[in-house]
Symmetry: C2
Subunit: 424 residues, 2 copies
Amino acid sequence: MNIIRYPERSEWKEILKRSALHTEDIRDAVNTIINKVRTEGDRAIIAYEEQFDKVKLESLAVDETEFKEAENMIAPELKEAIRQASANIRTFHAAQRFESKKIETTPGVTCWQKAVAIEKVGLYVPGGTAPLFSTVLMLAIPAQIAGCKEIVLCSPPGQKGKIHPAILYAARMAGVKKVFKAGGVQAIAAMAYGTESIPKVYKIFGPGNQYVTVAKQQVSLREVAIDMPAGPSEVAVLADGTASPVYVASDLLSQAEHGADSQAILITTSEQLLEKTKAEVERQLATLPRKALTELSLRSSKLILVKDLAEAIDMVNEYAPEHLIIETQNYRDVAEQIVNAGSVFMGPYAPESAGDYASGTNHTLPTNGYAKAYSGVSLDSFIRKITFQEITKEGIRRLGPAIQILAANEQLDAHKNAVTVRLD
Amino acid sequence: MNIIRYPERSEWKEILKRSALHTEDIRDAVNTIINKVRTEGDRAIIAYEEQFDKVKLESLAVDETEFKEAENMIAPELKEAIRQASANIRTFHAAQRFESKKIETTPGVTCWQKAVAIEKVGLYVPGGTAPLFSTVLMLAIPAQIAGCKEIVLCSPPGQKGKIHPAILYAARMAGVKKVFKAGGVQAIAAMAYGTESIPKVYKIFGPGNQYVTVAKQQVSLREVAIDMPAGPSEVAVLADGTASPVYVASDLLSQAEHGADSQAILITTSEQLLEKTKAEVERQLATLPRKALTELSLRSSKLILVKDLAEAIDMVNEYAPEHLIIETQNYRDVAEQIVNAGSVFMGPYAPESAGDYASGTNHTLPTNGYAKAYSGVSLDSFIRKITFQEITKEGIRRLGPAIQILAANEQLDAHKNAVTVRLD
């Protein structure tokens, strides 16, 4: 871990820089796969699954037998934990439902917004060593609450041609009926364009490696919407001398274990906490199974000492972390001053893992500083707000003359005329 | 205008197709400009303004004298119309403020969302023949209500090196302090990367030609967020035999005058209305100053006769128009069934021009079928919702065991450990 003491503001930009994403280099390779899926459909998916996931598939859709098998393979304690997490995610996202209000802006002119679910959404759940069933819950539960009619989920099969049972169990539990064996770029392309088996959707959600990220970007240029641009996961811990170095170290480590490119940063006002945390990271690291990977990621992590809390808050807002954990004395006051972050964890008993799994908040969050412009996934991500307006005869009489003047000044006479014919 | 009677559902896709956007062809040209602005800053902008807008600029920022001059040039009746429109836009968007609710998902686990303004936003207002001061109001007023700290506006100067006075007047009225003379790709690049004069922003809004559209897409791949992908403007009118052909024709024409690539579609259940509308379009067209341009755009417009209202509604939802005008007997019932549209105008006295200028709804809306996945611009577009969670000792005691099980099953032991240290 890199220790930085009292950096000048002019140095912040360099210190807080993320590792560059080399997305341009792989764009052509990604577009080749996208185009092949677009023209050849299922056949291309099956070929790419053989090439990349080393599995020969007969068909792409997960059938009822596989769902049943999966359910039987899940331990009761995991089922109960998934149920508890789901209930909290459901409670929090259901409370985000939009309530429409009719506003009379001028007598006879009534305007309102109505929330309508995106009809078809696609969820991507990566494979790899860890089965990310928590991501299934985080995406499928709000999609279901929003009322999306068609929820499609793609995830790469393991070497036996099956999707991990915990992913299938979570999907079924969250109301997803259509699950397909497809990973990487080919899965994104399939949901963007549709194939014989996999339906085309209007918006694609979910994490993935840099190939998936680029594929989502490429299809978002024309075909579909995407949840947000993605980058490696990251946490900032803002702590003062009252924080527990044991907790802080565990939080930094839980971010670091995600992968070599993920970033964990401590911003603290206390030299003592910094030193103790450093020692504690080393102590806890020794006990972790993913030690080698975590160690690699810690190399780019930083422990930063700043002169006071105000500076610490400024630095957090400049960094705009995906996750922010505040372990300070008056953590509520500090939280009030945060303007750039994906999700904020307040106080000593709120580790990032709580939000990653089970507190109810969504774990799909803006990385790479995107928190300055993007929100994390929420119920909003699965709806659109359509505006409506109803205008009475009195309404157009009152509003019409202004519209005529405005339209005439923009030299749009037919716009003016649409009012004139109604006023006559 | 093309008349299509009782098309089969299998033909809908072809009938409702938009004209293709050839964005790939100009991508390299756009990226060249972007890169030059990125490396050379103001100097590049000044050079491009000379090349494209035929104007030699000394400086880019609009100064106080120019704002004052502009204000003096605006007729009192236009000022009053702008004031009236602004008041309605302000009323409707202010009513969209997000009210945060704290949700206790589990005893001791409290989660909430907080709306925070995007700190720096950039608004692009195209030049060309018509000064789009209404776009200034539609973007700057919600930015101001949201509380964006820095609102930057770029618009190309006319041949005398000045921005149209109505744009400057509207900008000042909506609280924009920083206005710059820059148009097209160079303006988008300036706001994405920042130059000596023009500040970098986090999100860029506003319409433009295909070059601006591609520039926004390109910078959105890495640097900034954008409001939404853009395409030519469009309207669908859904009408039955009770509708006035005079009103319907005026609505189709007010869309058609936007440009040769804009699309106006009538979907009706009444043969008689169709025929009368056709005749009325020709009659009204003859009186319009933009006759030639409007005629060109009408060539790709369509009058479609369908068998009943249910089919008409299905067709609208399949088309997902930017603007939808419903002129039918029970227009409220019909409006209830609309799921894909940008903005909906209900009843005989609600022409699209009302929403374009003054009713209060936003006129920055999803075109090109994007209404299936995107909302129009609203107060939401200028904020992010950050999630917060506060967990007490009791909260982690109740939630911790589930998190431990879930993390262990995703093979993320450091995630589990962050809970374990807190339960001990």
